[in-house]
Amino acid sequence: MRSFVLFTKVYILFAALAAVLFSGSLMIHIAYISRAVHPLSDKDLQHLLAQCRHDNARNQVTGILFYSHGNIAQLFEGEAEVLEPLFERISRDGRHSHVRKLVQKPISVRSFAEWSMAFHPIEPAGFEALQGFLSPQALPPLPTTLSIADAMLVELVRLAVFPDREVPEAPAPVQP
């Protein structure tokens, strides 16, 4: 029993040490919304999906992007030294404007296993099989690792991008 306690203590110490040592590779997530300068065609979207997936996989950036009728919203996560310059580049990208950063904060774990995009293709056939494509009608539930405030933020931007989406009924608020 004693040795177990000792082991736990050593483990905690080690974990704390590791946290200090690896604080250089701080994980953050960033969310923003923006407007596309020109509406994106199926081909543009397909191209964007392929390119971003390639780049993001290389940089270990995960997250989700919503696009509809020129409205863009994205939440992405990764190491701070990757994400900060990436967001810099994104905000300077001439293909969209009105970029509004909503949140940037440290996270302890990733919530998304990969990077994917949700949009309504004009010709849905062929997109279903595409890697990283999500249909806005069939979005998976948000990961529970997101804090409720962050999950709500994603819900709100998703709602802003896909206003026709069904919103689940809210339960009655707690009464004191």
Partner: protein
Amino acid sequence: MREQHLHDILRHLPAGVVTLQGPEMRVSFANEAMRTVLGPAVREGALLLDGGNRLPADLQEVLRQVYRSGQPFVAQAYGLSAAFTDGDDPTTHYYDLAFEPVREPAESGDVTGLLLFAVEVTVQEEARLRAHALALETRHLDARLRVLTETAPLITFTLDAHGVCTYASPQWYRFTGQPPTADLTAIWPLLMHPDDRLRVLYQAQAARQAGTGWSYEYRLRRYDGQYRWVLSRAQPEVHPPDPPVYWHGALTEMHDQRELAEALRRGEAELRFLADSIPELIWTATAEGLIDYYNRYTTEYSGLTLDELGPAGWVSLLHPEEQAVAARAWVLSVAKGTPFEGQYRMRRHDGYYRWHIIRARQLADERGPRWFGTCTDVEDQNRLHQALQTQYDELARAHHDLDTFVYAASHDLRQPALNLRGLFDELRRTATFADPEQEHLLGMVDGALGQLDATLHDLAATVRTQRPQQEPVELLDLALVLEEVLLGLRPQAQQRGARLDVEVEEAPGLLYGRANLRSVVHNLVSNALKFAHPERPPHVVLRSYLTPAGEPVLEVQDNGLGMELDNPQTPVFQLFVRQHTHVEGTGVGLYLVQRIVRSQGGHVEVASTLGEGTTFTIYWTQPE
């Protein structure tokens, strides 16, 4: 041999050469270059002035003139259509033509022929023509620019690198009212508002030194002495790699916009100030439901910075148990545009959670939808409410205990009272009293015993109604039940010569507890008989009917003493309160009626006039 050599040279010359003999201009020599000028017909031996050559008339004329006069002539940039030599090519070629008379013998003799040189100058001529067209275009543009700069509703100007104003459009003079002779560089700063002058001069100089453009606003004095806000924008004229030498710019009057913006800013600043002064959490959100403003109190209460709060951070202030519910409710409100309201615990800066009512409403106007929300601290109200609830519960319990006690007591006391009555009756039967005074005393004891029993009976009946739905409800025939009750009261009625009328035709049936109905009617009618007016026999009318809403009602009307309804000393339905103390009673009757009717969801109304009578109206059921 030499002539042959010369001909060879001439043949390869890039200029056209032709020698002509005699007044009929017979070609004696023509090189290839000349044939491209004058056409393939120019061959040795051909007659140049022959109509078949189709030489332009003016050229033929010049050839003749030079031959006649013996004076050389040079024609510059003479245009010859290429169609002359090649029927398909319509372009014009230009040549410098030199006409040289040939004399024989040389120098002194008569003219015997002509030497014609042609050098193509098409490229030079075209360049010249282009330059000419450009000059015309430039003049045109210049004129247009001038018209535009002088008629557009803005002032244009040019400054050099030293800040010297080299040009200002006429609008400047019109706006400022300065004479055309005014020294622009010197007077311009003087026309700026003194509060803006230093800033503008500094900014302009900084921009000139940095070689950049500028855009700033300042007040400029108009001809009438009024200062008007203007927007000054300028860009340097750049010819890399040299630094810019001139700055061209425009001044636009924007006084009205500026005033409007100022008013808006003031209005907004005042609203912000107001919002910041209220000790309540106030926030606004965009159409998407993302918070874009928290008032100062929000940061004070939460102890978080605006960045930490963020567009959705308010949710993390809520109690962990309530976050998910609140978040879903908010998303739903945003989706549907419906107001948001709920009670949630919000964390204070010290970690203590206080109950708040969070409300938000959507404002939709021409600026697009946005949300306005408040969080009102209801912790104190809730605590008060809880305290009151606790007290209420305690009181209700005490009340119930009291009822139980009264019931038990009245029940337990009835037996000794009955025993007392039995013993008293026995005593009365067996004992004899000589003194008639004592007989009177016995009567009083008898009365007191009767009253004690009635009081105990009434008390027990009162607290019995405490337990609702004790009694099964059934559809009662009112006529029958009323008749029974009135039968029980017949002795009193006969004693007072009362008249009792029953009118139940309008609503003959009633869904109610039988005992309850009997108790109510018994109490009301016996009251009516008890409190009859001494000067007239009692007349009681019982009427059953339906209200317009279909509720069954029983009305009991008498012509008795009447009551004071608004006397606070003697409330009508209070237990043990009696209005007419000269008439014997327990003060329980009306209280009991009230309790029975209320316990079944109905209510009792009473109208009364002192000395004339009282009407009780029983609404049996709860109104819909």
